[in-house]
């Protein structure tokens, strides 16, 4: 059985750091999306998302990130993704995700993007 997706949120100044672990498929998104949204959208926090332990993404995961980025933009905040693994990066390339939101190599670069 596939391990359920986990989410961990920590805050530093005005940046929310979100760590996801597992698979961003439909069951995974169903499990974390409400918690993710509640943790960052109402206060309009700039958000960086660590994807280094996400092994798989499907379109429901893309949908979640785009929805969150739009909601944050309405609150003058940004969503930046970093450290995607190979399958996740391949899907991002296929759908040209970098034209929608920043996707960078590591956390330091993600924080710089989020702060500018």
């Amino acid at each position: 059985m596939n391990k359920p997706l986990e989410i961990e949120v920590t805050y530093t100044a005005n940046i929310a750091r979100v760590k996801l672990r597992g698979r961003l498929d439909t069951p995974g998104v169903d499990r974390v999306e409400a918690k993710f949204t509640a943790a960052v959208v109402p206060e309009g926090r700039n958000t960086v998302v660590d994807l280094s332990e996400v092994s798989f993404i499907a379109s429901m995961g893309l949908r979640m990130f785009i929805g969150l980025a739009k909601a944050l933009k309405r609150n003058n905040a940004k969503l930046v993704l970093f450290a995607p693994q190979s399958q996740v990066n391949e899907i991002f390339n296929t759908v040209v995700m970098r034209e929608i939101m920043p996707i960078v190599v590591d956390e330091a670069e993600a924080v710089r993007f989020a702060a500018t």
């Binding site: 059985m1 596939n2 498929d25 439909t26 499907a58 785009i66 739009k70 296929t94 040209v96």
Partner: protein, 146 residues
């Protein structure tokens, strides 16, 4: 409750309800079959992506009523490829007719969804669709193993 039936060492079939719980059962059955088949990570990722996108699409958009329906999926291993056959009694839907999304839009103009069928096309060698005489959708998706 899902029903998994191994037809041979190369073939399997799973039936599950058209719900999130059913999708999880189907994903678990696919994982068990892929693990036994030992086809490699790329083939597994392609198979999971196709399964996830097609079944989620059937569950979200396939039915005009709130009843639980049954989705039937067969997996078969061939020479350098995997074949997944999806069978459901939802409204007619041929994914080959879905227009490709405009992917070159900034955040403000980008639609939230609409990328799933595009991903299926990009990760498959071939798609065949038939509306059967018994008013069922039968979609065949072939993905490369290597």
């Amino acid at each position: 409750m899902s029903i998994t039936q191994a037809k041979s060492s190369n073939d399997s079939r799973v039936c599950f309800p058209s719900s999130l719980a059913g999708l999880k059962q189907g994903l678990d059955a696919l994982k068990a079959w892929l693990t036994a088949a030992n086809l490699g990570q790329t083939a597994e990722d392609r198979a999971f992506l196709v399964f996830e996108e097609i079944v989620t699409n059937i569950i979200r958009y396939g039915f005009d009523d709130a009843k639980e329906h049954t989705i039937d999926v067969s997996f078969a291993r061939g020479d350098g490829e995997l074949t997944l056959i999806f069978d459901d009694d939802g409204r007619p839907f041929d994914p080959r007719n879905v227009p490709a999304p405009d992917l070159h839009r900034p955040l403000a103009a980008a639609p939230i969804g609409g990328r799933g069928i595009f991903l299926v096309r990009k990760n498959s060698k071939r798609l065949d669709y038939e509306r059967t005489a018994k008013a069922r959708n039968r979609l065949t998706v072939v993905v490369a193993v290597a």
